[in-house]
């Protein structure tokens, strides 16, 4: 148990309530989160290509969702923002 954890003595009924408090997140969400390392690599490749190819850059800026889908990356909000920030040359927080 980690330092700072406080698991109070409890009966089995209370344990049941605590187990019920953590249902699994939807499988698709978990799968997307697990694919982040691969997605990040692909995002970097999109940015690299956009920096070398003005036509591609315009396509990415105009329609980032399609660019992400073409690269087999889930086009959720955060990935689109990452692409926009990197192409804008803004420092990410």
């Amino acid at each position: 148990m980690r330092e700072g954890d406080r698991v109070t003595p409890h009966d089995e009924e209370h344990l049941g309530h605590l187990l019920s408090a953590l249902p699994p997140a939807p499988e698709a969400w978990v799968r997307t989160a697990k694919e982040l390392p691969v997605a990040q690599q692909r995002l970097a490749e999109i940015v690299e290509r956009a920096e070398a190819d003005d036509d591609y850059r315009r396509r990415v800026v105009t329609d980032p969702e399609s660019a992400l889908e073409e690269a087999d990356v889930v086009a959720h909000t955060e990935n689109i923002e990452i692409i926009r920030r990197r192409l804008d040359g803004k420092k990410e927080d």
Partner: protein, 191 residues
């Protein structure tokens, strides 16, 4: 012969700090374990503490893990990943709520019982970790019944067990879980 974490399949046994260090080193399997370890927690904060609708909760969920992946190097104490994720999730949930309610002070946006709910989820996560120590059969049946809300019949079919034995198995596994937690508590207070 090299004894690696990969070879022994011990990611689940790594401490949070060890896991974070391996993620930072680019170990994808460690990242998978980190997501497995905290996905329920992040999801529960978004949905239970902040009561976000599913589509908002999904955006927050993905943003939390994306930022965690990108900013792991900023973590001052690798063992503090859980409170760091909780704080990150909380901040992103508040941002999401504020986006829907213009110019509201933060304390008017955040549900009043968030602290209590997160405290309960912290305790639930510790119980969930203790569950991982129990034999596979106990992990599976308790998770199915309590966390996945499956019926006796569904569990019986999935695990190929007589329906009439499910209740007693759950009861025995809960006792094992309580004993495991009591052992951890006494070890924790003795150290």
């Amino acid at each position: 012969m090299e004894t690696s974490v990969e070879a022994m399949g011990l990611y689940v046994d790594l401490s949070d700090g060890q896991l974070v260090a391996r993620c930072r080193a680019g170990d994808h399997e460690a990242w998978n374990e980190l997501v497995d370890r905290f996905s329920r927690y992040v999801y529960a904060i978004a949905v239970q503490a902040f009561k976000l609708p599913e589509h908002d909760a999904e955006d927050v969920f993905q943003e939390v893990f994306t930022r965690a992946y990108e900013h792991l190097h900023k973590l001052r104490d690798d063992d503090a990943i859980r409170p760091w994720l909780a704080q990150l999730t909380r901040r992103l949930c508040i941002d999401r709520l504020r986006a829907g309610v213009q110019e509201q002070p933060e304390d008017l946006v955040e549900p009043t019982d968030v602290d209590d709910t997160i405290t309960r989820l912290d305790e639930a996560l510790a119980v969930h970790e203790a569950l991982a120590i129990l034999p596979d059969g106990c992990q599976d049946i308790l998770d199915r019944f309590f966390a996945r809300d499956e019926s006796y019949r569904t569990i019986s079919e999935a695990l190929d067990l007589p329906t009439g034995t499910i209740a007693s198995r759950i009861s025995r596994c809960l006792v094992k879980l309580r004993v495991e937690l009591e052992g951890r508590s006494s070890h924790s207070s003795a150290s």
